[in-house]
Symmetry: C2
């Protein structure tokens, strides 16, 4: 994209010299788009949450992202055009250098081919847009501003529909060649359960909320009893949400308990493998299910890791994420630029 052609009327609005710098962040999810505007310390100046357009194409999704950013900016007393930079945390396959997003399955209609999200959104904001992986940026935010602050190296495990991960090694996010952190696809049982990714035996095939729902539906078809789907209908949800799992566990539903216990066991094995390989100082547990189930489950996962940790005295703590559902949007904004202190 030729930057000159992307400058529209609004970008002529220059920040007044005394205006402190601000950055925008957008967390693109399958059901919602979170947006924040932060200052150089990471403090949230404005925030908003929009619903992801259910059947939109990539261009519609970019429009919706801009709408969320516009509102967050207004809440901060700004316009998107006055932001020093905008970051996007996205699922799927991010090419940060090209500014494209491909293989997106759960957002709008989904799309396969690389779509120029950075250029399209940059046309609207009139400024620089950078893309990152949704979980990686959330973990980076927890590292800079949340539970990871005291450490040099952490592993973030985002337990939700899938199981995502992110690494910070010696204070720097480790992305490998762009695809690092896929702890959900650490193999915990070769030839085991079919994963949403098409492979077998991945940790996510046992611990991901989508995989557990598939398994629960199968069990019900085989005649097993559970309150999971009653709770779902009562709440008017199309899916087993984290709060439904939480409720079923509290009511000691045997199928839910069995599935979550198995998930905890497999998370323990997979996370211990990561520690044996990387020996990081701490693990941060986030994601919809991780956040909902909370400290008791962080403790249980920690216990499930114990039998597999090669240097027992070096088993790292499993800490709860502190930034909650804003970690992705804040992490996206950090990607755009507020320099580390």
């Amino acid at each position: 994209m030729d930057e000159a052609t992307s400058v529209d009327a609004e970008t002529t609005e220059q920040p007044s010299p005394g205006t402190p710098m601000a950055w925008g962040g957008i967390d693109l999810g399958g059901t919602k788009i979170e947006s924040v505007v932060i200052d150089s310390t990471g403090a949230v100046l404005g925030r908003t949450r929009h619903t992801t357009p259910g059947d939109g194409n990539a261009a519609d999704v970019v429009q919706a992202m801009y709408g969320a950013l516009l509102e967050a900016s207004r809440a901060a007393g700004l316009t998107p055009q006055r932001l020093a930079g905008v970051g996007v945390g996205a699922p799927g396959s991010v090419d940060a250098a090209a500014g494209t997003l491909a293989h997106v399955s759960n957002v709008g209609q989904g799309w396969t081919e690389p779509y120029p999200v950075a250029a399209d959104l940059g046309d609207l904001t009139g400024g620089r847009v950078v893309l990152g992986n949704d979980v990686q940026v959330a973990v980076a935010a927890e590292y800079r501003l949340g539970a990871g602050r005291p450490y040099r190296s952490v592993l973030g495990v985002w337990w939700g529909t899938g199981v995502g991960g992110g690494l910070v090694l010696d204070r720097v996010p480790w992305r490998g060649r762009g695809s690092a952190g896929e702890i959900g696809h650490v193999v915990v049982k070769p030839g085991g359960a079919r994963c949403g990714c098409g492979r077998r035996g991945c940790m996510e095939a046992y611990a991901g909320r989508a995989a557990m729902e598939r398994k629960a539906r199968k069990a019900v078809r085989k005649g097993e009893k559970t309150i999971l789907f009653e709770l779902m209908q009562r709440k008017g949800r199309p899916r087993l949400t984290s709060s439904i799992w939480d409720k079923a566990l509290r009511e000691e539903d045997s199928l839910a308990t069995w599935l979550i216990d198995r998930a905890v066991r497999m998370l323990g094995a997979g996370m211990a493998s990561a520690i044996n390989l990387l020996d990081v100082e701490a693990i941060i547990l986030g994601g919809g299910l991780g956040t909902r189930l909370g400290p008791e489950y962080a403790r249980r996962i920690h216990e499930a890791m114990r039998p597999h940790i090669f240097v027992p005295e070096r088993q790292p703590p499993v800490l709860m994420a502190e930034l909650g559902e804003l970690s992705g949007a804040i992490g996206a904004a950090l990607l755009a630029g507020p320099p580390a202190k």
Copy 2:
């Protein structure tokens, strides 16, 4: 240790101004001690191999290490006292900062408590001695001078009695808090086979040469046929060495083939897990068994990884280590100091 008291007669021998700098490296193993002297380019000026004292205590082992270093130095036309630094790659639990080595089970009589190897050996050489993990230093040597040269990030997998590993991330060895790289203890089957480390389901419990030998002996007790132990007796060895496994595979021994096929499958799963987590550019295969079985098995392990790799187009090559049995000693010498170019 007071350095002044460690200066013996030989250290008064000063290098003449024109003498190029040289570093010593010692690779401490259960059966042998390899030593090299290298110059600033990593070229080997002298080398030697000694037998590890079978029933020696820690002090005896240090004496034997010094003996090997002395001989390697002589082969390089030097004395150990003229070396700019000495590095040791060791099994067990290395505390690099303290210069101690603990939990050594297969060297001499073995010892549990931290022993001041760096100070003891430094008394003999009259200079600085640094300690590192044997596999980590071997991988670092392959990265600087061997198969890893073209890359920024590599995983080394040392397939031998156990399965060791080492990481180089963005050109720097990654040691975590000192214990990183234990890919042999990535969990490939929770609740699975008992590992030499006492845990269950580790990759090493399926792929380590010691674990495969235990399994083979068990199979024979149950009446299975194999030529493995005949070969062992014929060669007068107390253990199934890498060359015995190689020979049995060539003769299509069914038990050996089954065990090695299973090992390859588990190596594939565990190594793919590491790639999904770290997305490094290349894997280097070394170790006694890896080196002996060679490129055909590097290719087979690469194939065994394929079904588990999350981003298929990013599956890294599995390369053979190039420095052979000297990689550990050269890596130890590099640890002592020749600066990277």
